[in-house]
Amino acid sequence: MATVAGTLARPANVGVWSWITTVDHKRIGVLYGITAFTFLLWGGIQALLIRTQLAVPNGTVIDAERFNQLFTMHALTMIFLAVMPLGAAFFNFLTPLMIGARDVAFPRLNALSYWVYLGGGLILTSSFFWDAPSAGWFNYVPLSGQTYTSDLGIDFYVVGLLTLGTSSLMAALNFTVTIINMRAPGLTMMRLPVFVWMTLIISFLLVLALPPLTVGLIQLLFDRNFDTHFFVPEAGGDPILWQHLFWVFGHPEVYILILPAMGIVSEVLPVFARKPLFGYPAVVFAGVAIAFLGWAVWSHHMFTTGMGTVPRTVFATNTMIIAVPTGIKIFNWIGTLYGGSIRFTTAMLFSIAFIVTFTIGGISGVMHASPPIDGQHQDSYFVVAHIHYVLFGGAVMGIFSGIYFWFPKMTGRFLSEGLGKLHFWLMFIGMNMTFFPMHFLGLAGMPRRIYTYDQGLDWGFWNMFATIGSYVIGISIIVFVINFFRSMRQPKTAPNNPWDAATLEWATTSPPPEHDFDVVPTVRARDPLWYDRDHGIEAPEPTGEHIHMPPPSYYPILMASGVALLGIGVLSHLALTALGAVVIIYSIWGWALEPTD
């Protein structure tokens, strides 16, 4: 088809440009994965610096200013640039394969999500060259207001999160449409793999959670740059408003981080126990219930702000109720192990460990659901222990389980099981050494976000212990990186279904062809490949007809650069914002008129 004058032709699908212009969900998944893992390493280095400073009382490795920047950026990096996009890497790569589709509903939008994420990530990270944000990841006003933090750090925070939010919103809409509309014949909602269910759930969460954050960020941006007074108490504003807006996003965000990992574990456990997931409907509905209840608990982050007794009672009750669906999930995973024939692959070890470490985070969560107890826990190291058992013991363990599990599907190669098990044990021991003592430190009265503490407080021993543990985690990551690069030099030997798994992604080649499936599969049961195996149903022969796939496009990265310029302009000169707007408008025009092949 002819190119309209002034628009760009479809690029050729070769070389580096084939990656930059790709709209293939698998390649975008890989881009997400590599980018997010790089940010994970960077966030890990930040964590090691923090732990090094805190190893001994009155440490002198890092000064107060840098320390505040490091814990702020550690959280932002891990949450927004590493764990969320690692979840995105999995659902990008896997969702179409798992539902028997050839791509997502809006392939170019999918590429745009990735490039906007990269832009937001680079903006946020580049803040270290000027002023990094330093008011903590929840960035409370008035500390984050112009009066008390006049440097650019908070503006980087605002612009970075607004940009990243745009990316997540587009991805969420894309995957909602994909999952609802593009399932293979026979793949009813109650046959959907649990991982896909969790992707659908977090897509809804993202669509609903990002707007309040966006509102808060825009208000903060205006307060800081245009002298509005949304959060300024002297002018009739209210700093508590920010806390409500932030946490009504922030709490669902925790589920956005953990639900993909729960989905991964729900896929891995049945495969290596060689039996179906125990109580599939309960696991699905528990996920829905967690997401739903997650909207009615945000104020438990604000129990110490002087909220009345009755609201605290209500939010405490709602929070405690979340223990019920969470408990259901944990018992169903244990039930999946029961009666199995368990293979201890690395992926399985990570999933089994997930059950235990996530349970610890869940239990401590129920503890500070109790407002009187929270009076002691809030803003202490006990909470730091809790969030790391949820996000490291939960999300990260689940993600590594997924990496070992789907690596053959993604690359056609296997990760070494020997190095994998070394990685697992070092990480498991390291994370417990690092985070378990933080419970003790919290109970011993250590507040979070302090760059130094006195000898006389008796916090030295467990801090040193935790620091050693964090280095063990660091070593385990090095083992993983070595494993990764060693494997990438091996030949592609992985068969279609090396683990004898049950879901559709294992019905195609490893790695899958660009069009995913030669013939769109038909689903006859909840565990389709096991059903076909047990009933002697052979895969259909390819018919050889032409399969049209969306060609690559320049517009996603072009539009993303426009979005990034909007933000960079706010941080430097508004002329750049105007330029960004022009780029975006041009991209929309060219995007709309782009030929289909």
């Binding site: 000064d63 200013e65 505040n68 008035p142 500390l143 008390y148 933090t149 108490p233 002297e234 209210d238 508590i240 126990a273 060689r274 179906p276 125990f278 109580g279 599939y280 409907p281 309960a282 110490t304 002087g306 605290r312 405490a316 009750t317 405690m320 019920v324 969470t326 408990g327 259901i328 944990i330 018992f331 169903n332 039930g335 029961y338 009666g339 199995g340 024939s341 293979r343 089994i352 059950i355 239990i363 503890m367 109790s370 407002p371 009187p372 107890i373 002691q376 202490s380 003790f440 919290g442 109970l443 009265g445 507040p447 979070r448 976000r449 302090i450 760059y451 503490y453 407080l457 008796d458």
Partner: protein, 353 residues
């Protein structure tokens, strides 16, 4: 403690051992007498909140051991063995109903003592409770003792003295960013939020010579870590003595060095920010120094109060407390005072007992 016994007796045999070991371990490690520990109980609020806390800890230990034993046990027992295929179980409604009800029961067991404690802690203080105002500043605490009409009768900083057994109610304020008032041994924390009238009420229950340690618990900027305070709980008679001493105005310094310091102080920038009652120094920005010599620490609980540390603080306070709002006074740090002059001022301040 009834819950503890219930928790323990409901388990027998092999499960009892790991549970006991765990509870003991936690108790041992936690009940360590760290000076700022939440496990030491010296106030009615902390006493009250430990009621649900004990229940929660026991339930937590039981749930954790249950999950651990089942996960590990099943993993090992059902490991791959030749001739034993996996049993294709899809679920079990009865079991699933049971393990929905178990968390419901656990939650109820936590909720009931929680709300009991919450309502007791939140109860309005008695009308005769002692009234105090605590004001958060970047990065120190101002304490004002109020009379029945709410007028300030005494202003001090970073060291709060309280009578044992007497209910107090503290109005929590902030002049800049959000801070949080936390003395773990006495009470859970409550935030100090600009524009909000928060309160905390409690009774300190254990007089002792050593102070209870407190610390700001909400990130408040560069020196958040250095925003500490101390609470001295005294027998009522001792407290009354302290109060009447503190209400007195300062008297003229004796001794050459201190007298020289007094003069220097009155001529220097100090008086722009600090008050010393009975002198021309009536500044309101920094801590009231009328009886600074009687305090045990300087720089919001960061340094021991002695001539050397006072001099270090005056010379360049940001060297002790990054970002400190007090401008450096020492000539070496861009101020106007020589080391000798600073030593004299330190001697004067120490004489303000």
């Amino acid at each position: 403690m009834r819950a503890t016994r219930l928790g323990l007796t409901s388990l027998r045999g092999r499960r009892l051992l790991p549970l006991l070991a765990l509870v003991l371990l936690v108790a041992l490690l936690v009940a360590c007498d760290a000076p700022q520990s939440t496990t030491e109980i010296a106030g009615n609020n902390n006493d009250k909140l430990w009621e649900p806390y004990r229940v929660v800890l026991v339930l937590a230990a039981i749930v954790f051991v249950l999950v651990l034993v089942l996960t590990l046990g099943f993993s090992i027992w059902f490991r791959e063995r030749p001739g034993r295929p996996a049993r294709q179980i899809h679920g079990n409604t009865r079991l699933e109903v049971i393990w929905t009800l178990i968390p419901v029961a656990i939650v109820a067991m936590i909720a009931i003592p929680t709300f009991d404690a919450l309502f007791k802690i939140d109860k309005d203080p008695p009308a005769d409770a002692m009234k105090i105002e605590a004001i958060g500043h970047q990065w120190w605490f101002e304490f004002r003792y109020l009379d029945d009409k709410g007028e300030t009768v005494l202003t001090t900083a970073n060291e709060l003295h309280l009578p044992e057994g007497k209910p107090v109610t503290i109005a929590l304020r902030s002049v800049d960013v959000i801070h949080s008032f936390w003395v773990p041994a006495i009470s859970g924390k409550v935030d100090m939020i600009p524009g909000h009238d928060n309160n905390i009420s409690f009774t300190a229950t254990k007089a002792r010579p050593e102070p209870y340690l407190g610390q700001c618990a909400e990130l408040c900027g560069l020196s958040h870590a250095n925003m500490r305070f101390r609470v001295f709980v005294q027998a009522p008679a001792d407290f009354d003595n302290w109060m009447s001493d503190q209400k007195k105005d300062s008297t003229s310094a004796t001794g050459d060095l201190a007298s020289e310091g007094e003069q220097l102080f009155a001529q220097s920038a100090c008086i722009g920010c600090h008050t010393v009652r009975g002198t021309s120094a009536q500044g309101k920005v920094g801590p009231d120094l009328t009886h600074v010599g009687s305090r045990t620490t300087v720089a919001a609980g960061t340094l021991e109060n002695n001539a050397q540390n006072l001099a270090r603080w005056i010379r360049n306070s940001a060297d002790v407390k990054p970002g400190s709002k007090m401008p450096p006074q020492g000539a070496s740090a861009g101020g106007t005072l020589t080391d000798d002059q600073i030593a004299a001022i330190a001697a004067y301040l120490l004489s303000l007992r």
